[in-house]
């Protein structure tokens, strides 16, 4: 049906052995945290599926997301483009320009109607359509036109996912996120400024393999990468637990690698995989380089108080009264039982009779 060869065919055409193909399937399963039993299913799916047509739209953005993607190492950008998807339109990466570029987009839309994947980076200005245009078409028009025939939409980066920096107060262009305009298609958000390349590549690989998006949380982020906070997995967490904090960037605590919470680290409220996958092929991540997390994968991170202001209260919303009472009651019960336990232990201490060498044995009866 499709003009594209299946992934299996195209890989064989490139001289890739069955063994290498299965290795690739295993890598995909592992980055998506899928059980090993899924590997044959991935292999079967990829064997018979044509390469996925993908159209990449760049709106109000800085190209950081694309730069990030080019640093993906498992699967690599080349692996992704040549083996899994057919990237039919992408400003930065395509060779074509001008009319030829736009007609490539139209050809892909018509040839794969209802089946192509739209990947968006950048926010969409609603204030004046002229703020951002491509080939004379405003961003909002192009998004609606392209998404109409899409199977799913991937919003890459915090701008596409939540509006990002263009959306920051006072939001001069009236920038909005993809999901505030598109409501009738499956959308996945991969936030981050930029997002982790492995996550972009992993989600695309998942989509190609299973024909659907992975499990998402309430902010439409994939659970497998955004299930835990940076803080949960941070290697500096033991210092937080011990109450050892760097107070300035050059004090003894900073040199000892203590927790950066007091220097404004947003790790405790930021869901992302930086602490585990890290960056640049697993070399490091911001906290490991000595700077707190900015919380770039959370909505409105730019407006959430100063980057160097410590978190003291949740940045979004106020704790409701009932929650407050419940917390207070819980704390009271905890304090009371703690006090009882302390009392018990101090009684045990009072009952302590000093052990001397005459006390080491029992009396003979």
């Amino acid at each position: 049906m499709s003009k594209y060869p299946t992934i299996g065919e195209s890989l064989r055409h490139q001289g890739i052995s069955r063994r290498d193909f299965l290795k690739f399937c295993t890598a995909v399963a592992s980055i998506l945290a899928l059980p090993a039993a899924m590997i044959p299913k991935i292999a079967e799916a990829l064997e018979s599926t044509p390469r996925q047509s993908a159209i990449w739209l760049s709106f109000q953005e800085c190209t950081g997301c694309t730069e990030s993607l080019t640093r993906s190492h498992a699967p690599t950008l080349e692996g992704l483009i040549f083996d899994l998807i057919s990237l039919d339109y992408h400003h930065t990466l395509q060779a074509a320009a001008g009319t030829a570029a736009e007609s490539a987009r139209e050809a892909a839309m018509q040839g794969n109607k209802g089946n192509y994947l739209v990947i968006v980076d950048g926010s969409i200005p609603l204030g004046n359509p002229g703020y951002s245009t491509i080939a004379g078409i405003s961003n909002v028009d192009m998004l609606k036109e392209v998404v109409a025939g899409a199977k799913a939409v991937v919003a890459v980066g915090t701008c596409a996912a939540y509006g990002g920096i263009p959306h920051a107060a006072p939001n001069p262009t009236g920038a909005v996120s993809v999901d505030s305009l598109i409501t009738d298609k499956p959308i996945i958000n991969i936030p981050g400024c930029p997002p982790i390349p492995l996550v972009i590549a992993g989600v695309v690989a998942h989509f190609v393999t299973f024909g659907q998006l992975p499990n998402l949380d309430s902010l439409k982020r994939p659970h497998s990468f955004f299930g835990q906070t940076i803080h949960d997995r941070c290697y500096r967490r033991p210092f937080y637990d011990k109450g050892l904090f760097a107070e300035t960037f050059d004090d003894e605590g900073a040199k000892q690698g203590w927790c950066l919470y007091k220097l404004g680290c947003k790790g405790p409220v930021t869901y992302n995989a930086c602490a585990t996958t890290k960056w640049n092929d697993g070399v490091s991540f911001p906290i490991e380089s000595g700077h707190g997390c900015l919380g770039c994968s959370e909505p409105n991170f730019w407006d959430a108080g100063g980057f160097y202001k410590p978190l003291s209260v949740p940045i979004n919303g106020v704790i409701k009264a009932t929650t407050g009472y419940a917390l207070a009651a819980g704390a009271a019960v905890g304090a009371a039982s703690g006090a009882l336990n302390r009392l018990k232990r101090s009684q045990a201490r009072q009952n302590h009779e000093t052990v001397t060498i005459t006390d080491l044995e029992r009396n003979q009866k």
Binding site: R345, R349, H352, I357, D359, L360, E361
Partner: protein, 424 residues
Amino acid sequence: MSAATFERGYNALKEQIDAPIASFFSSCVRCGICAEACLFFTETGDPKYTPIYKLEPLRKVWEQEYTLLGKFKALFGLAQKLTDAELAEWKELIYNGCTLCGRCSMVCPVGNDLVYMIRRAREGMVAAGHAPEGLINASKRAVTTGSPMGIKLPALQAQIKHVEKDTGLKIPVDEVGVEYMVLLSSMEIINFPEYLEAIAKIMQQAGKTWTIASAAFEATNSGIQIGAADIARELVSRVVTAAEKLQVKTVISPECGHAYTAIRWEGPNLIGRPFTFKVQHILEVLDEFRQQGKLKTSGFDSNRLTFHDPCQLVRRGGVVEQPRHLLKMIASNFVEMSDHGKMNWCCGGGGGHSAIEEAHELRTQVFQRKKTQLEELKVEKLVTACANCRIVMEEGFEAYEMPMPIVGLTEMLAKHLATSNESN
């Protein structure tokens, strides 16, 4: 006063449960990874040696005395109270089945410090009268004679005379205001006098002032091994009083693992205040001399040799790099064991284990681990930095008929000290 009872033991266990222990027990996910880290489990295959299981009596007290659920369980008869018979049964696990080596603490995925808990559980065992006879007698001797092996000052003085005669160097005793106060373990006085000789030569070459304190020359702390803080405190206090009286800057723990843990880590907590002096292991001191250029050697030992990391040095003390720097100066064919450094396997006789006679057979059985490690390497010589490890391994070699010399690193260095013409 005057005798151990179950009630005193139970009270002691209650007393020992502090915030870390409570959080350790509540975070345990019962994964059993600690079993594979314990040489008593790997060498016997008996699951009763799983480290966390050795803590069952302590866990019971924690649950029933300090948790809501445990109190309910006890109230409705769903859980049995700890009994004296149980403590008696666990004596074998807590003493004969553990060398306090702390390898289990390193692997726990939730970060539970199992060896800390076993050390605390021993407090209860002691107060209940379930400590092994060998350790009881060692503790008695340590308190009454000043040394767990019953070595008194005259024995040391005789040894000093020998060393002075052999080396022509003066061994300073009770000198005030010197830089270093040197402690010895009884094994070094009786079995390895080479150590004292080595110290004298090295200090002479480095040009440092030092002394031995006649009131506190013994470093071994039986109180830590048996698990009696009160006795440990008394033994540590002797060292502290002597060091403060002599106004030394640094106290040097000898080549002995638990002595180091006792004085360096437990010491200040036991006496309840910081020390006025620094405590260092002899290897730390020697490596400082090396860095200052005050340790000059000549010649290399060309034997294929390896270094056995004493548990308390690497896991509790972080002294990992120092022996390697030092060995590099004098050994040309040094190879590393598998699991060397902080994950090294215990000799099988630490934590007072070597004083427990009835555990001898088990000790020999678990020595197979060290034997396997060494056989893989095909070395001719073994170097270590703990007199206790050395004795235990010598016994092990004897049992398995493996003739292999073992030397202490300090004495090996002393043998390679450059004479004054060579160093010029």
